[in-house]
């Protein structure tokens, strides 16, 4: 079967420093894959390469077998490759409803409409409300995003990606900065995704990774150190060395 997302020998360096070197990943359709690694291992760089924010110096990226290496970020999203950001990237002046409504309008191909107002199609309202409800944002959907509590903003960060209707979803530390008690809300929203959606999770929190992932890749200094099931990774002495040596649990 064609993998949902595949990278072949992906490489990117800044100056002389390789932030990603020879990264080859393979995500089957419906995968729940986690990418872990110590700080500075190049996880976010890899995500920027995948989403098209950065261009690789070498290597290829395939989405459902099609080469998307040179595709602009917005074109990748249209093909179903959607990401979230480690640091919230929201529209501070828009309300959650407007933000999500815009993403849904785009997905339905209505974003170039100039004559009808936003949300004039019932489908936009239905789907926006559905996504907002899933992330517990209905009660704040009318307030400008900049005034929302951090936890709500974090939920919106994920909700915006879901609203794009991803077939492959890249989550960059979705629980970053969210207190223990609120993490379940985020996870629940992601877990409710259909089974055929492929998810790549970048995460620091091992607890979350082991609860969520069915396969794990370990990235160290821009290279894939190893890949395996959570049990294999947990037992791998090299992974332990990397993490203990780096001071992370």
């Amino acid at each position: 079967m064609t993998p949902a997302l595949e990278t072949i020998g992906l490489h990117r360096s800044f100056g002389g420093l390789a932030a990603a070197s020879d990264v080859s990943l393979r995500l089957e359709r419906g995968a729940r894959h986690a990418l872990i690694g110590p700080n500075g291992a190049g996880k976010t760089t890899l995500l920027n390469l995948l989403s098209g924010v950065l261009a690789p110096s070498a290597g290829r990226i395939l989405l459902d077998g099609a080469d998307i290496t040179t595709l602009a970020p917005d074109r990748r999203v249209r093909r179903g490759l959607v990401r979230t950001f480690q640091v919230n990237q929201l529209f501070p002046a828009l309300t959650p409803l407007q933000s999500v409504g815009l993403a849904v309008s785009r997905r339905l191909g209505l974003d170039t409409q100039v004559w009808r107002r936003i949300g004039s199609r019932p489908a936009v309202i239905d789907q926006s409300v559905e996504v907002l409800a899933r992330f517990g944002l209905l009660d704040v959907m009318d307030r400008p995003t900049r005034g929302l509590a951090y936890g709500k903003q974090r939920l919106l960060e994920i909700a915006l990606a879901i609203a794009c209707g991803p077939r492959v979803l890249l989550l960059d530390e979705p629980a970053a900065g969210v207190p223990e008690g609120e993490r379940d809300e985020i996870l629940a929203g992601v877990a409710a995704l259909p089974d055929d959606v492929t998810v790549l999770l970048i995460e620091h929190d091992m607890d979350l990774v082991f609860r969520f992932a069915r396969r794990i890749s370990v990235l160290v200094a821009g290279r894939i150190l190893t890949e395996g099931t959570p049990a294999e990774i947990a037992a791998d002495p090299r992974v332990r060395a990397v993490y203990l040596g780096d001071g992370h649990a």
Partner: protein
């Protein structure tokens, strides 16, 4: 109320015409009916208002700081003026052609403008307007150079209404065009396209990450805004029956920026209110110190910024929004 109904109502509310808006346009219509002595000033206000609304689309919605918006105003004015010499003397036709031509110019130059930082944009917009000014200045055979376009004459509007010397037809014409184009712009900014422009200027990274091509959206709004500015310029050419290099001058770009900033950016009415205040004050001050009016503009700009533009206009804007919100 179900969440769905609430959401639908909320999105609808953001685009509905408010009583304050009806009042605003009723007042504008009343000015045409009851202030015949002020037609010349009112006509200037309507034209400047359209010009400022155009800049609001670029700056308030698109987030592009432009120091050369007069390029489009002036281009539209020259196109409208030259058209009469080419035999197209019906005003509305000329207006349409000028608008389309300026839109094309806006689309063409947007490639230059949408690259780089604020500073680059400021310089490129400035340079584009200076290049146009220089061209108009040098191509004397076409533009009349420093003497301006002489001998523009229009046939009656739609073949029915002759421009009179009091400016009754002129102001009515400008006001009608302003209203139609304003309504168009207003419609645009509450459409998915309009929201995507706002998103693109607010957070380009995320806008691309929800699948919206940032540059193309900004190009679109820049082109449309250029067209509006071109129509404003054409209106000036038609109602004053004269075009000079002044339409492309730097001070025009700076003044429209000031008007917009006075009225506040990002809600379209700011351009109209700013133009009204600016022109009325200019009219009064110019009587006192005709030559040194520029000094007061400068002082106003400096004080505006020092006092905190945002803080200063938070109040009138909040007031306007409060009236606006009351359904």
């Amino acid at each position: 109320m179900t969440p769905r109904a609430r959401a639908a109502a909320s999105l609808r509310a953001a685009s509905r015409w408010r009583p304050a808006e009806y009042a605003f346009w009723a007042a504008a219509l009343a000015s045409w009916l009851f202030l015949p002595g002020q037609y010349l000033l009112l006509n200037e206000i309507a034209i400047a208002g359209l010009f400022a609304v155009s800049l609001d689309l670029v700056l308030g919605y698109g987030g592009i700081v432009s120091l050369g918006h007069a390029a489009f105003f002036g281009f539209g004015a020259y196109v409208a003026g030259l058209l009469t010499m080419a035999g197209v003397a019906e005003p509305l036709t000329g207006l349409l052609i000028a608008g389309v031509a300026t839109t094309l110019l806006g689309l063409a130059t947007s490639v230059l403008v949408l690259r780089g930082s604020d500073l680059t944009r400021i310089m490129v917009t400035l340079s584009v307007s200076l290049v146009l000014l220089e061209i108009a200045n040098r191509m004397t055979w076409l533009t009349g150079g420093a003497d301006g376009l002489q001998g523009i004459a229009f046939t009656p509007l739609l073949g029915l209404f002759e421009f009179d010397m009091f400016g009754r037809v002129a102001y009515g014409y400008s006001l009608a065009v302003l209203f139609v184009l304003f309504a168009l712009a207003r419609r645009l900014v509450v459409s998915p396209f309009g929201w995507s422009v706002r998103a693109a200027s607010g957070n380009p990274l995320r806008t691309a990450a929800i699948g919206i091509p940032v540059t193309r959206r900004l190009v679109g709004v820049y082109g449309f805004a250029a067209g509006l500015a071109g129509v404003a310029g054409a209106l000036l050419a038609q109602t004053s029956q004269f075009v000079s290099l002044d339409v492309l001058a730097f001070h025009r770009s700076a003044e429209v920026l000031l008007m917009l900033v006075i009225g506040g950016t990002g809600y379209l009415y700011g351009g109209l209110i700013g133009a009204l205040l600016f022109k009325v004050v200019q009219d009064r001050l110019a009587e006192l110190t005709p030559q040194y009016w520029q000094f007061w503009i400068g002082l106003l700009l400096v004080l505006l910024v020092l006092a905190g533009r945002e803080r200063l206009f938070a109040l009138p804007r909040a007031a306007w929004r409060a009236v606006w919100r009351r359904a």
